[in-house]
């Protein structure tokens, strides 16, 4: 692409925290506005894209059939579609309810009005359209976002870490939280966040998704969690927060995936 690429932001079922993080990256990188042309960003701007856009960042999961059409329209318009954050990348916390029968969930929350609201099992954007790249995390990491934009401006796809988060903890010199009487999913989680949660005394919850590739050893992870005092129920609860969709995929139970993975 020549000149400044046209960039647009969209959100589906989300907390908009990733887009807010994008706004906050301007605090340290105000020059971002000089290298991209933001043509649509509903939360921050009333301006709508007049002439399409080159790069679309999508935040949020798809949680209702009615949203698929808009996602497909975005795919048709943009050359590059980037899933922004855990909800778009992996279903995020929205997917927790995928373990529960859908009708039960609707009735629990809306009771006799359960059928008023259009909804289905939350899924990542890549379950609806092909996604070119993703920026993981809940929320995204500011520096990872800036690096990804730089890569895209250079005409290449963002490169993400493909090793466990434990490595970043060691590099940072953190005292392992297991030594502090807590538990952590770092050994099976993709690095790239500088191990921020352990740095602040809290075990990793896997918001960036599992380490890619065949080597993620979930059974061993569960053994370690058991040895450190977690019941099977609590282990399932912890794994469910950000990893429900990915785990269901591994089990062959992911809801209605429309593309081959």
């Amino acid at each position: 692409m020549s000149g400044k690429p046209k960039v647009a932001f969209f959100e589906f079922t989300s907390c908009e925290g990733c887009q807010l993080t994008v706004v906050d990256t301007l605090q340290n990188h105000p020059d971002l506005l000089n290298v991209i042309d933001i043509v649509e960003f509903r939360e921050a701007s009333s301006d709508k894209a007049q002439d399409g856009y080159d790069i679309a960042f999508i935040e949020g999961s798809c949680t209702r059939p009615g949203d698929e059409a808009k996602i497909k329209e975005i795919r048709e318009t943009a050359s590059i579609v980037v899933a922004l954050g855990a909800c778009a990348h992996l279903g995020g916390v929205n997917a927790i309810r995928n373990r529960m029968p859908l009708q039960d969930v609707r009735e629990y929350v809306y009771q006799e009005k359960a059928d008023w609201f259009d909804t289905y099992e939350p899924r990542p954007i890549e379950a609806v359209v092909e996604v070119d790249a993703f920026i993981p995390g809940c929320p995204i990491d500011r520096e990872e976002f800036v690096k990804a934009v730089k890569h895209l401006l250079q005409g290449r796809m963002p490169k993400l870490a493909d090793y466990p988060m434990c490595i970043e903890c060691k590099l940072a010199g953190n005292v392992c939280v297991y030594k502090r009487g807590k538990t952590c999913l770092g050994p099976v989680t993709r690095a790239g966040c500088d191990a921020i949660c352990p740095a602040y005394g809290y075990g990793c919850e896997g918001c960036r998704g599992l380490v890619p590739g065949q080597n993620v050893n979930l059974e061993s992870m569960k053994d370690v969690l058991r040895e450190n005092g977690m019941s099977d129920e609590d282990i399932d609860a912890k794994l469910s927060i950000f990893l429900t969709y990915q785990l269901m995929e591994l089990e062959g139970k992911a809801p209605n995936v429309t593309l081959e993975n």
């Binding site: 589906f12 079922t13 989300s14 907390c15 908009e16 925290g17 990733c18 887009q19 807010l20 993080t21 706004v23 906050d24 301007l26 605090q27 105000p30 506005l33 933001i38 960003f41 509903r42 939360e43 921050a44 701007s45 009333s46 301006d47 949680t63 209702r64 949203d67 995020g92 916390v93 929205n94 927790i96 309810r97 529960m100 969930v105 629990y108 929350v109 809306y110 009771q111 009005k113 008023w116 609201f117 909804t119 809940c138 929320p139 921020i196 949660c197 740095a199 602040y200 005394g201 809290y202 919850e205 129920e233 609590d234 609860a237 912890k238 927060i241």
Partner: protein
């Protein structure tokens, strides 16, 4: 027959998805509402059977702007359910977190969501070229607020070190002092913000209503206290349902609320009206300079009340930091629960108004959860304000009417993704 139809799809410069729909036939207002079309979030279902320690981390994900507020309300509900007594240090650090969030959100709202309407632009982005000082100021102020939260809990969205009974990380003295310096430097930016908002011509629209906010702690209350109303009533937080009285309405995936009148308002303006007497003196000065004294009944002034709160939070944060540096901040394990079962409510003033979380916990697991969101509590008031406003400006061109309605909704600073989940849920074990 004359007909005016307005349909704003997915209002811009607000958090979340809402449509404004107006239908006037021959001068009669047939339809005038803010339709909440945000997808229902089902957070109450997400909490089901989770260990209580996970709850605050899950619910902070309800909202990117009020992440700290949700986490805090959640923690207070759990702590009340399980009989946890907090240390003074924990209470003060949580106040600082809320100050950081309030400032961060108000700065975003004032500069990036509201100001563009008055500066003739669609967003803050073109201002980066035409008024770079203004944009840099907004980013600089937001950075101080965000860094205050990051210093204590790792980040504002979503806080890491906040936990049941306390914190898992503590700021060092040098960090507190460095942040204090930046807060002091922010006073100049606060003044510039006051000057900017004093210069804007806000619509002269009024509608008297009930205003509700937390109060009764001897200071401008953001955490705990009692629920107070400008109609003269106070109620304990545990009785929040007798204040909110939620009802489902067909045009909204979020419920409406009503207390002593048909609707009420929460948020900065409500807090200002209820807690004016305990505003920090510097904030009171700022309010006086803007000619603001209770009872203020123009919803457009909600943004101005937010600017007064930015001043209040800056000054109170400096005072709290001074106290903490003087006393010293010490490592302490989070306070322990005295039991693993109970029902408890937490009330917190997030940027947009009073938020309630209530949990029922059995054997350490969440078995029932309810959240009442401030924006949900404002929806009835917004509809009624729009219904009063439209007839008053009906002679204007359609674009101007539309723009005024959009500005009215924006003045409330709605946080729509937060508001779309509702009912009390009791999980009955099969």
């Amino acid at each position: 027959m004359s007909r005016l139809k307005i349909n704003v799809h997915h209002l811009t410069r607000v958090e979340g998805h809402g449509n404004i729909v107006v239908d006037v036939q021959d001068g009669n207002l047939k339809q005038c509402e803010l339709q909440i079309v945000e997808t229902p979030r089902f957070f109450e279902a997400m909490l089901r059977d989770k260990p209580y320690g996970d709850a605050s981390h899950i619910v902070s994900r309800i909202c990117g702007i009020c992440a700290v507020g949700h986490a805090t309300a959640s923690l207070r509900a759990t702590e009340n359910a399980l009989g946890v007594e907090l240390s003074e240090q924990t209470v003060l650090l949580r106040k600082l977190m809320m100050h950081g969030e309030i400032m961060d959100s108000h700065i975003l709202h004032a500069y990036m969501l509201v100001a563009p309407d008055f500066l003739g632009v669609g967003s803050v982005i073109p201002l980066a070229k035409s008024a770079p000082d203004v944009v840099l100021r907004a980013l600089r102020m937001k950075k101080v607020a965000g860094d205050l939260c990051a210093m204590i809990a790792g980040r504002h969205t979503h806080p890491i070190a906040m936990t049941v009974g306390g914190f898992t990380h503590f700021p060092r003295e040098d960090e507190l002092l460095a942040l204090r310096e930046r807060l002091v430097a922010m006073r100049a930016d606060n003044q510039a913000t006051l000057d900017l908002f004093a210069s804007l011509e806000l619509p002269d629209f009024v509608r008297d209503t009930e205003y509700i906010a937390l109060s009764g702690t001897g200071e401008y209350t953001f955490i705990d206290g009692v629920i107070a109303s400008t109609d003269g009533v106070t109620k304990p937080i545990a009785d929040y349902r007798t204040v909110t009285n939620e009802i489902v309405v067909p045009h909204s995936s979020a419920k409406h609320t009503a207390h002593l009148r048909e609707s009420y308002m929460v948020g900065a303006l409500a807090r200002f009206n209820v807690n004016y007497d305990v505003l920090h003196p510097k904030a009171r000065e700022a309010a006086d300079a803007l000619g603001l004294t209770p009872k203020v009944i123009n919803p457009f002034l909600n943004t101005v009340a937010q600017v007064v709160e930015i001043v209040h939070c800056t000054e109170d944060a400096i005072d709290i930091i001074d106290y903490l540096v003087d006393k010293g901040v010490f490592w302490e394990e989070p306070a322990e629960p005295t039991r693993d079962y109970g029902t408890g409510s937490g009330g917190v003033e997030v940027p947009r108004g009073v938020l309630f979380h209530e949990y029922t916990i059995e054997a350490g697991k969440i078995v029932g959860a309810n959240c009442v969101i401030p924006t949900g509590q404002n929806l009835g008031n917004i509809d009624r304000d729009m219904r009063k406003l439209v007839p008053e400006i009906l002679d204007q061109p359609k674009e101007d009417i539309t723009h005024s309605l959009e500005m009215l909704v924006r003045a409330y600073d709605p946080c729509i993704s937060c508001s779309t989940h509702i009912l009390n849920v009791e999980f009955v074990n099969e």
